[in-house]
């Protein structure tokens, strides 16, 4: 056994190590900033290091380590062989536990919140699609459907390929009228097809491919689960919960521009006189009208 109450000699309080540390820091900073600071730092470190070592070598400043009263587990001090009357109500160990957990939690949150934000937020920010040039209006003969495929975000490559069914309804009150139906099935997003022969002949314009349909389709149908739509995109059979989505459009410099998509519950009438029941763009399978629409109170920003 070690003898009890051993008091090892330890260095007493000294200012020299502080100066030594300052010198080392200056030296390291100097490596990055300026060689002159390296020299200054080295001189400071050497001077204070010399003073420190000299003190230790002369055993000056050595002091006896203070005797430490052994701590009792219940935190109560022993005096005259009797326990102190009442324990502290808020002990040091409880404080240390709470502050360790609290500080750990704060540090953990500081580190992890930006990381989880990076994981989640980009999917919801800057998602608004810009307008897309679909070529000269003259490429869309009046009263005919044209299948237009395009890269919604050309920088993403073919994975951004979208298809719209475009019909020029002719001018209404001197303003052009277009019906532009998205090919995303309103059931679960599979690509719907026009119910007619689709010829191979097509016209290309930048990233847009145009295929005019010589025979007007009787409607649209989905290959995945049998959803069927009429020529205006109204659901007529199968599992879809609403009509096909549509795109807004604009005409600039004689070109047809595709604007933001929107969702449609149903369409009354047809062509340029159709009454479109329009709703904010929703994911496939979501009701936009009726009681079930209450299941989707807020939409993520599209």
């Amino acid at each position: 056994m070690e003898p009890r109450h051993e008091h090892p000699h330890v260095p007493g309080p000294s200012i020299w190590p502080v100066g030594f540390a300052v010198g080392v820091v200056a030296l390291l900073v100097g490596f990055v900033v300026n060689w002159a600071i390296v020299v200054v730092g080295a001189l400071i470190a050497a001077a204070f290091g010399f003073l420190w070592v000299r003190d230790l070598a002369r055993r000056r400043g050595l002091t006896k380590a203070p005797a430490v009263e052994p701590e009792r587990r219940d935190g109560r001090a022993e005096t005259d062989g009797r326990l102190a009357p009442s324990p502290p109500t808020y002990g040091r160990s409880a404080f240390l536990e709470l502050s360790t957990l609290g500080l750990g939690g704060v540090i953990g949150a500081l580190v992890s919140l930006p990381v989880f934000g990076f994981m989640i937020l980009p999917a919801f920010l800057k998602q608004k699609a810009g307008s897309h040039d679909l070529g000269p209006v003259t490429d869309y003969p009046e009263g005919e459907f044209v299948v237009a495929t395009f890269m919604s975000r050309p920088e993403q490559g073919k994975v951004s390929r979208r298809t719209a069914f475009v019909r020029n309804n002719g001018p209404v009150n001197g303003r052009p009228s277009f019906t532009i139906i998205s090919n995303h099935c309103a059931h679960l997003g599979c690509p719907v097809q026009p119910n007619t022969a689709v010829p191979a002949a097509h016209k290309e314009y930048q990233d847009v491919t145009l295929t005019a349909l010589p025979t007007p389709p009787s409607g649209f149908s989905c290959p995945c689960h049998g959803g069927a739509y009429d020529i205006e995109g109204n659901r007529i059979a199968g599992p879809p919960v609403r009509a096909l989505d549509r795109y807004a459009f604009s005409i600039r410099n004689g070109h047809l521009y595709l604007e933001a998509p929107f969702s449609v519950s149903h369409v009354d009438g047809s062509g340029s006189t159709a009454e479109i029941h329009k709703f904010p763009f929703a994911f496939p399978g979501e009701h936009v009208s009726g009681a079930e629409a209450w299941l989707y109170p807020i939409q993520p920003p599209h």
Partner: protein, 258 residues
């Protein structure tokens, strides 16, 4: 007098060294040779079969990741490269592809065994819950892995799968948009599914399997329902152990010549 160590002792020295510093050898012995009911059944090997299937998935998946490229222009061609050009690539990919189904099937069979044996009852409810989480994570592995070949089947199956998620009430649309990393499937969707498939989910599965096994060892194995031994009828006091010189080897027998 120091006698020359026998060959057995020579072999056991490093094991003793390891055991003295870590306790791992004793822990492994405890894990492998712990007491189980005498009438355990072959059906109770389904859990370790599931574990084996998962280890096969983790191993083959790690090796496939050395050749696979999660980028829309290259994903499909890297898959055909693995299958057709790389030596035994068809085998490793096939193991991973079919092993995925084996893993899911074994999970269901294991679950059925636990249910029919009543092994989900007190005190093993927590292990049932962990098992259900593992089943969900396993299914999520299947969903995220299905997109990676990046062919028409996987693409449209994932479109449909994500949109099914989107139809969930209230948070569904947000979940769908998070999963595809935007309003539509885009290049980020592929790398996102890849990261989830090979980092997030396997990490969580490994951790939960550890917890699952810890509870199996701690709570013991159930007897089959037809067991004739009443519960708790086994010996409760440990059997006396012979004295040991090392931590793992028994005291050497003294020869008659001494």
């Amino acid at each position: 007098m120091a006698s020359r160590p026998t060959p057995y002792e020579r072999i056991m020295y490093p094991v003793d060294w390891l055991e003295e510093r870590s306790g791992l050898v004793g822990g492994l012995r405890y894990f492998l040779f712990r007491k189980v009911p005498a009438d355990t059944n072959w059906f109770q090997t389904l859990g370790s079969a599931t574990l084996t299937a998962f280890i096969v998935q983790a191993l083959t998946g790690s090796i496939l990741a050395m050749y696979y490229k999660p980028e829309p222009q290259q994903a499909y061609s890297s898959i055909t490269h693995i299958t057709n050009d790389i030596w035994a690539g068809w085998l490793v990919r096939g193991m991973h592809r079919w092993g995925a189904s084996v893993f899911i099937i074994l999970m269901f069979l294991h679950m059925g065994r636990v249910f029919l044996f009543g092994a989900y009852k007190y005190p093993r409810e927590l292990n049932w819950i962990i098992g259900v989480l593992l089943l969900a994570l396993g299914l999520a592995e299947g969903f995220t892995g299905y997109l990676l070949p990046w062919d028409q089947t996987s693409y449209w199956a994932t479109v449909v799968g994500i949109n099914i998620n989107g139809t969930a009430p209230f948070l569904g649309p947000f979940l769908a948009q998070f999963l595809q990393g935007g309003t539509y499937i885009n290049p980020d969707t592929l790398s996102r599914f890849y990261a989830i498939h090979m980092l997030l989910l396997p990490g969580a599965i490994f951790a939960l399997i550890g917890l699952h096994l810890y509870l199996v060892v701690r709570l013991g194995v159930t007897s089959p329902p037809w067991s004739k031994h009443p519960a708790g009828s086994g010996p409760t006091t440990p059997e006396p152990q012979p004295p040991r010189t090392g931590l793992t080897r028994p005291a050497p027998r003294r020869s008659a010549r001494g």
